[in-house]
């Protein structure tokens, strides 16, 4: 028996080629050469394989009749296809097979070189397909296949659950059965883009269920291509957003509640301060009234006007305190409107300095522009300033110099900044790093939600809130707020 490669001139190349699972066989199928790679793949050694008919040895199953393959091979010189082979142990292999026809000097077919690449057992491919199918079947998301004309071709159980139509009902129908009528044009646009091969980024939309109710969904659409790469349809994956939207809403509610709770806890502290503050006029009123009672008893009214005036003054004072408290407590929806910044600052200073802890504290207010207006919810921004001032008052407790400075400045862009600084010890480095995180506090009695809620409020207004220690003084907090002009410019831009 003569092999094609019995000479040793290309031995090094052959050594490498020997690693590939390959054979050379005569046109009738007898194996002439059998590589080490083939031995490894199939289990038969060269001595066992040589001379055997390859299709018998490997129990080859062909995708098309062998005669057709041989015809192709004779006309084209090569053939590629997927074959099924059996190993010596009986294991079924799927191989990508590449055949190349060798002709002798006379041009007659002499031999076939066959290289086989294992692409996994048939079972593997089937299992992969089955898994993919199971994934689609068991997906919580609706997965829908449709033609480029929008006719439903595939409808998974997720789609049944989400939209209420069974697969039998939906397949063959237009996809627009799940559209609210006013949104049906969306589908036309989608299909047009898919047809042009454009990818469609996930987006949020509304679809209509069989029962007529509309649901929010996240939609992903991608083109389906056939083996040649032509776009033949589109797959749509839709996720029910109801639970997600509910959770978002609940989180927002919680945040609002937290802001309110914080306000209430501040209110508790404010009430303690107010109790003290309201005790003062009450004490005075009681003294004046007792004195007047004495005068009435003795019939000597000469000093009476002083007592009466005193009572009237002190009642007004108590009334003003209660009014401030009522304004502070009032919650309601935020009402954003143009407000004079000086008024907001003055009231916040007044509220913050009611506290007995503020005794001996000097508050300097330095306004860049006396009647500057900001576009804010007055009560909320007052709450922020109140917090900053109260913190500053606490920071200066026990210091020789207790000075708070509120300074406003207006930048060229029309943004107004309010700086609240103090003569306290400044913010420590550890606290500075986490200043606006919830539940970070330096106060023994604080919950540490004040600054984080403050920042939420300020950012909700389109502003910023930052804190640092400027050289040579205590802490400085800077709050920026949109001015009226800026806010209306944004509104016009929409």
């Amino acid at each position: 028996m003569k092999t094609l490669f019995e000479e040793g001139d290309a031995s090094s190349i052959l050594a490498i080629l020997d690693l590939a699972p390959a054979m050379v066989r005569a046109f009738d199928g007898r194996i002439l050469h059998w590589t080490g790679g083939a031995e490894q793949l199939y289990g038969w050694s060269a001595s066992e394989a040589l001379g055997r008919l390859s299709h018998e040895l490997l129990q080859t199953e062909f995708p098309i009749p062998l005669a057709d393959i041989e015809a192709a091979l004779l006309s084209e010189g090569v053939w590629h296809g997927v074959l099924q082979h059996r190993t010596r142990k009986g294991e079924v292999l799927r191989v990508a097979s590449h055949w190349s026809l060798q002709r002798d000097a006379g041009g007659q077919p002499a031999a076939i070189a066959e290289v086989n690449t294992n692409i996994g057992p048939q079972a593997h491919a089937d299992a992969a397909r089955a898994r993919l199918s199971a994934i689609v079947e068991s997906s919580q998301d609706a997965i829908i296949g449709k033609t480029l004309d929008g006719v439903v071709t595939d409808w998974n159980p997720g789609a049944e659950r989400l939209f209420g139509y069974g697969a039998a009902e939906a397949v063959g129908q237009s996809i627009t059965i799940i559209y609210p009528p006013e949104q049906a044009t969306e589908e036309v646009a989608l299909l047009e883009r898919i047809r042009r091969g454009h990818a469609i980024d996930p987006f949020q939309s509304t679809r209509r269920r069989k029962d007529g109710s509309d649901i929010p969904v996240a939609v992903t659409v991608s083109p389906i291509r056939d083996a040649s790469g032509a776009i033949v349809g589109a797959s749509t994956i839709m996720r029910d957003l109801r639970a997600w939207i509910n959770r978002e809403r609940r989180l927002n509610d919680l945040q609002a509640q937290l802001a309110h709770t914080t306000r209430l806890s501040e209110l508790g502290q404010l009430v303690a301060a107010l109790v003290h503050e309201i005790n003062q006029p009450l004490t005075a009123i009681r003294n004046y009234a007792s004195g007047l009672e004495q005068l009435v008893r003795t019939g000597n009214y000469a000093a009476a006007p002083r007592g009466v005036t005193g009572i009237v003054t002190q009642v007004s004072r108590a009334d003003a305190i209660i009014r401030r408290l009522r304004d502070f407590v009032r919650k309601g929806a935020p009402t954003v409107q143009a407000e004079r910044l000086d008024g907001i600052i003055d009231e916040a200073v007044e509220l913050a300095t009611i506290n007995p802890a503020a005794k001996g504290v000097t508050v300097n207010v330095d306004l860049a522009e006396r009647d500057a207006r900001v576009f804010v919810d007055r009560v909320q921004i007052q709450q922020v300033l109140f917090n900053l001032l109260r913190n500053a008052i606490e920071a200066t407790d026990g210091r020789d110099e207790r000075v708070l400075t509120i300074r406003t400045s207006i930048s060229e862009g029309g943004v107004i900044a309010v700086d609240v600084s103090d003569t306290g010890p400044g913010i420590s480095d550890t606290v500075l790093a986490e200043l606006f995180k919830p539940f970070v506090t330096t106060k023994s009695a604080g919950m540490g939600v004040g600054l984080s809620v403050c920042r939420t409020i300020v950012e909700g207004h389109g502003g910023t809130l930052t804190g640092h220690n400027p050289p040579g003084s205590g802490a400085l907090f800077r709050l920026t707020l949109p001015t009226e002009a800026q806010a209306s410019a944004e509104a016009d831009g929409k």
């Binding site: 003290h276 004490t283 005075a284 003294n287 007792s290 004195g291 005068l295 005193g310 003054t313 001996g360």
Partner: protein, 125 residues
């Protein structure tokens, strides 16, 4: 009440709250006492002739010196002037310090004016 023929001696009031200070002066004057009122301990110490003071009614929470600090200062000056301390929050610490300084009485605001009237009435002439 000062008896006729006796030299006029004063009840001193020290409170930074104008309303409380003025109303207390009003009440005590109607009750027949001579009163001098001061807005701060510093003002009191600077302006008042301590020899003329029969008794002192002082607020605890004031800028500068607290009521207790004022009392401590008076004691350091060798004055055993009867003192009534008024405070919004009579904490244990305040009461203990008050007792140490020989303060006759600590009243919580808002107080019953009869307690102050009794304190003043019982002062040595």
């Amino acid at each position: 009440m000062s008896a006729p023929g006796q030299p006029v001696r004063l009840v001193a009031l020290v409170d930074d709250d104008t309303g409380v200070r003025d109303s207390l002066a009003f009440l005590l004057e109607i009750a027949g006492h001579a009163v001098c009122a001061y807005a701060s301990p510093i003002e009191f110490l600077r302006q008042c002739d301590l020899d003329s003071v029969r008794g002192l009614v002082a607020d605890q929470h004031m800028p500068g010196l607290t009521g207790l600090e004022l009392a401590s200062h008076l004691r350091a000056l060798g004055r055993d002037t009867p003192i009534l301390l008024v405070t919004a929050a009579p904490t244990a610490a305040i009461l203990a310090q008050a007792a140490e300084l020989g303060i006759s009485q600590v009243l919580a605001k808002p107080f019953d004016d009869s307690a102050i009237l009794a304190f003043v009435r019982d002062l040595p002439i």
